[in-house]
Amino acid sequence: MLQVKEGNLDKLGLLFQRYGKSLYGFYFRITRNAALSEDLVQDVFERVLKYKHTFRGDGKFSTWLYHLARNVLADHLKKTKRAGVSTDIDEQDALPELAVAPEEALQKEEHLQLMEQALDHLGHEKKELLLLTKLQGLRYKDIATMQGCTETNVKVKVFRAINDLREVFTKLQAKGINI
């Protein structure tokens, strides 16, 4: 990143190789829209170039990157809300249909689908927190810096989010929703 900051834009490709896919995953799980997620990832890298002078190099690059990513997402949500675009989960891209597979694999796949659904039922803040900490691998300390609160506070929030996820997951299982 420091080389990008020096004006060596070629190196942005390396950063993209390292973080692009993970960022895409973060956005896809929130929006469930592939094209939109791709666009949002581009926005993040454009901002990396635009604000490269603000990266001091004293913290982890991923923390800074996800800080930008959250801002891009917040801007997008604000824009869609203003434009009256619905972000209701039900109206977004449906999760892929299950392929015909052996029983065990099918069960495992069902389990994963149920988990994705449970995630979608969480509130935006909780979902984002779980994605950042558990799937994107950000540290509690970094999240605390990002959100301006204590590490303990973040941990409590994460636990509550997991607890909610568990509740939703159990309910979905009980309902026996056929995915």
């Binding site: 895409y24 990832v41 890298f45 303990t152 409590v156 997991i162 568990r166």
Partner: protein
């Protein structure tokens, strides 16, 4: 229900970060029923389920969009750099420009150019060119004179008008041309030709003889328009010698009343 007090402890448990003391504390909590066993298992299941989720696979569009964005940004950056000239760039440019080989080459090209220009525009060459032009101009003038003398004798008024107009294009009209013009002014049956002759003669009023003959011509005119045109010309030239001729025209009974009024005005101006 798990109380807030144990939430951090439970998270550490889920993540496998419990110290020995914490593990014992949790075991005690489970045994006393403060943390229900089933809930703990369900939490564990949800937590591992979450972590087992595979990363969504992006399509080829992600890389393509990124490449195009990067290419655009790099082009913009290159353009911005090109526009930003620093003193260093200027110095480097000067050094390249002033390298001995380039300097010698520049001087040779310059000398060659100078020599070529000297050959093309040297005084000798210019003189030849001037003579050529002069010759051409003289020939053109001769042609015009010929055309003039031919057309001025034509029976059609249009041709005679053209002749008079051609005469005004000739830079230095000689006595022949002037005679022909006065002949038209005094004797041409067509009023338009006479008027055109007045206009053509206006250009030669620097010549005192022309002025004199114009004054004499006043009394030979019968057309009111030509009379007015001549009176105007006299007024414009401030020619006092024309006053007797104009007065004579005033006294003439045949003169148009409107023309008389105009002539009176002219006389007033001239006196």
């Amino acid at each position: 229900m798990i109380t807030e007090r144990y939430q951090e402890l439970l998270l550490d448990y889920l993540e496998g970060n419990l110290s020995e003391a914490q593990r014992l504390e949790l075991e005690a909590l489970v045994q006393t029923g403060q943390v229900p066993q089933e809930e703990l298992q369900a939490l564990q299941a949800a937590f591992s389920g979450l972590q087992a989720l595979p990363e969504p696979e992006p399509g080829p569009g992600l890389q393509a969009k990124f490449n195009s964005m990067l290419a655009t940004k790099m082009a913009e950056e290159r353009l911005a750099r090109q526009q930003q000239y620093t003193w260093g760039d200027l110095w480097q440019g000067l050094q390249t420009l002033l390298s001995p080989l380039r300097l010698a080459y520049t001087l040779v090209v310059f000398a060659f150019g100078f020599f070529a220009a000297w050959l093309a525009f040297s005084p000798g060459q210019q003189q030849t060119q001037t003579t050529d032009t002069q010759q051409l101009a003289a020939e053109l003038n001769q042609m015009k004179q010929l055309l003039f003398t031919t057309l001025i004798d034509q029976p059609a008024a249009v041709d005679r008008l053209r002749a008079v107009n051609i005469s005004s294009e000739m830079p230095g009209a000689d006595a022949k041309v002037l005679d022909a013009l006065f002949n038209s002014l005094n004797n041409d049956p067509n009023v338009n030709v006479r008027l055109a002759a007045v206009e053509a003669l206006k250009k030669h009023t620097d010549n005192p003889q022309v002025r004199e003959r114009l004054i004499l011509s006043i009394n030979q005119q019968e057309s009111p328009m030509v009379q007015v045109a001549l009176a105007d010309l006299m007024q414009a030239l401030q020619e006092r010698n024309a006053v007797p001729q104009l007065r004579q025209l005033l006294q003439d009974e045949k003169t148009n009343e409107l023309v008389k009024a105009k002539i009176k005005e002219s006389i007033k101006v001239l006196i």
